[in-house]
């Protein structure tokens, strides 16, 4: 009887561990399907007010590895030349007028609106989160993610993943108090060429910004070899020269 119980316990333990490993593996695959290891992209970020009026920002970004991303604003004129850099949980903003990079935090927003800095400078989810549980459903998996450190913007994330495409279609972001901060919706899957097939639109809304929405539209996502020196403070004023 004791042996049977021990066997049952071991089986359950191994089964739980296997699901946890699968969840993290799935998360890494989701990351790779969203972005290649090293690439460049153009993004349009749109803040939409309750009355429907919009404010648009165009960004050029380069990303390398799991946790390095650098961007520069191409428009509007009031933001032109502003650069951002993220290495892990370190974030900097370069404002041409100010003339030097300043440290910023992930919960601030350089553009205003619902997206904060960690959304705009998104690195791989697997770099920031561990999958605690992967819950299967019809054609989807729900991944329950927990932040690896306290410096990550959202303490917990709930990710709905299309099981066939291994791409997310909805993400809920929670504070450590359990409060829902925002929901991200991934829409319009597009073939960008070079084997990159991913959602071209990310929409977000937030109970903290009732009636407001923000959207990111992706364009020209291409693989690009980038030296590590691009992701340094000294290079922030020169990001646009990579175009």
């Amino acid at each position: 009887m004791k042996k049977s119980l021990l066997l049952l316990f071991l089986c359950q333990f191994l089964a739980v561990s296997a699901v946890a490993v699968d969840g993290n593996e799935m998360l890494q695959k989701v990351d790779r399907n969203l972005n290649p290891e090293s690439y460049e992209m153009y993004r349009k970020l749109i803040n939409i007010e309750p009355d429907g009026s919009k404010k648009e920002f165009i960004m050029y970004s380069v990303k390398k590895g799991k946790d390095k991303i650098a961007s520069v604003f191409l428009s509007p004129a009031s933001e032109k030349g502003r650069g951002t850099l993220r290495v892990g949980e370190n974030m900097w903003l370069y404002i041409p007028n100010v003339g030097k990079p300043i440290r910023i935090t992930s919960l601030q927003s350089i553009t205003g609106g619902v997206f904060n800095n960690s959304d705009i400078m998104r690195v791989d989810y697997s770099a920031e989160y561990n999958c605690e549980k992967a819950e299967p459903s019809d054609n989807e998996y729900i991944l329950y993610l927990k932040a690896k450190t306290k410096s990550v913007a959202y303490d917990r994330v709930k990710m709905w993943v299309d099981y066939n495409k291994l791409l997310p279609f909805k993400i809920e972001c929670f504070a450590s108090s359990g409060m829902l901060i925002k929901t991200l919706y991934f829409n319009k899957i597009k073939d960008f060429g070079g084997g990159i097939v991913r959602p071209a639109v990310i929409e977000t809304d937030s109970p903290l910004y009732k009636g407001y929405r923000s959207v990111i539209i992706f364009a020209k996502v291409e693989k690009k070899d980038l030296p590590d020196e691009v992701f340094t403070l000294n290079y922030m004023s020169k990001i646009e020269s990579l175009r």
């Binding site: 648009e56 009031s78 935090t105």
Partner: protein, 457 residues
Amino acid sequence: MFFKRYLQTDYISRRKSFHFRIWLLLLFLSISFSGYLRAEDKTSETLDLDFEIPEVEKKPYEFLAELEILETVKGLDNDSLLFLQKYPGGRDEETFFQTDLNLKVEGSYQAQTLKLYARLNGSFWYNDEEDWENDLQTEEAYLSIQPSPSVAFDVGKKVLKWGKGYAWNPAAFFSRPKDLDDPDATLEGYFSASGDLIKSMDGPLKTMALTPVILPVSSHINDEWGAEKEIVWGGKIYFFTWDTDLDVMFLFGEEVKDRLGFDFSKNISSNFEIHGEAAVVFDHVKYITDKDGNLYEEKNNVLNLLAGMRYQTSRNATIIFEYYRNGQGYNSDEIKDYFDLVEAGYQDYTSSGNMAKLAISREYGSQFYNKQTVMRDYLYLKVTQKEPFDILYFTPAATCIFNINDKSASLTPQITYAPITNLELDLKATFSFGKEHTEYGEKMNDYKIVAAARYYF
């Protein structure tokens, strides 16, 4: 043409000037208010997203411009010593108006590894004491060569801003001091040659970068540094390790005094950043007046320090707090002697019409004393509340600068609103508080209100 007619002469022009300013203020308020009404009244529209991004096509040249209209009202403190120093005979009006028109234009041209960049700042202003005046300044104009992402060279007039502080940067050896009223404003650069050598690595030390600088000084170039011909050289070494930015900087000259500096910054959590700077100026010469107007030199090695933090609350307010130790500043006794000199000069003038002492105090004031951060220890606090009451792009803020040595202070509430792309409206008021013979207590203005509209294109 309108402005020329508007400025013809005294009474009529001043009446018109007053009406013009009212018109500007109404324009400012109407744009702000209409933006707010528009945001409130429109009904929801269906999302109509434009997927085109024409900026994907890169042009070799680029131009940007910023047009700024400023209206300033100062409430003068008729009893303050700096008012009496400037207007010993008094002034008819208790308020001072100024209108500014600024146009900043920047352009660049890039061909492979070469880039040319220039930024010009044209200013026109009119106030109660001057007709329209103008000034054109080349803030930056340089050639940049970048053979690879890890190597770059810049030659020309360029701003080199170092340090991690928001309000003060004691370790910014090669740049002009910031304007405390607007720390984010662009500055004018110096003529220099500088480079960037960057090396990224695996391991705890992730990045190391060297920025060498050579700055020529003569009576024709960079003459703010001195009239004697010399080459000032210096540099900065940057380290990124253990999620911390560290810089060591140095400057060596002959007439220009040697300096060594250090700074750091680090994110403690997702909403909390700390930073600091330290700089030593060797053989720094300070000029001190006694209450009779005799000027003395004091030579010392001085230490300047800054410690600060940036914190974001759960309600989306950002708090910037800094302490600054200005080792080059005056202590309470020294500043008291200066104010005593101004007071004695004013009494001489009123009793006998003798301007000698007042003239000396004006000269010392313009060279040494009537400047920002003139004393030793300061606190800076800025609280910015992002988009309160769900009003997007609306940012109220309040800034307090506190002089620890004489317990005087300034307080600046401010609202910024950017209702339309590329348009920014800014309204701020600065109030000075302090007893007699204190830095802010003796400021010429009791208050200063500035309304600004900026358009970027």
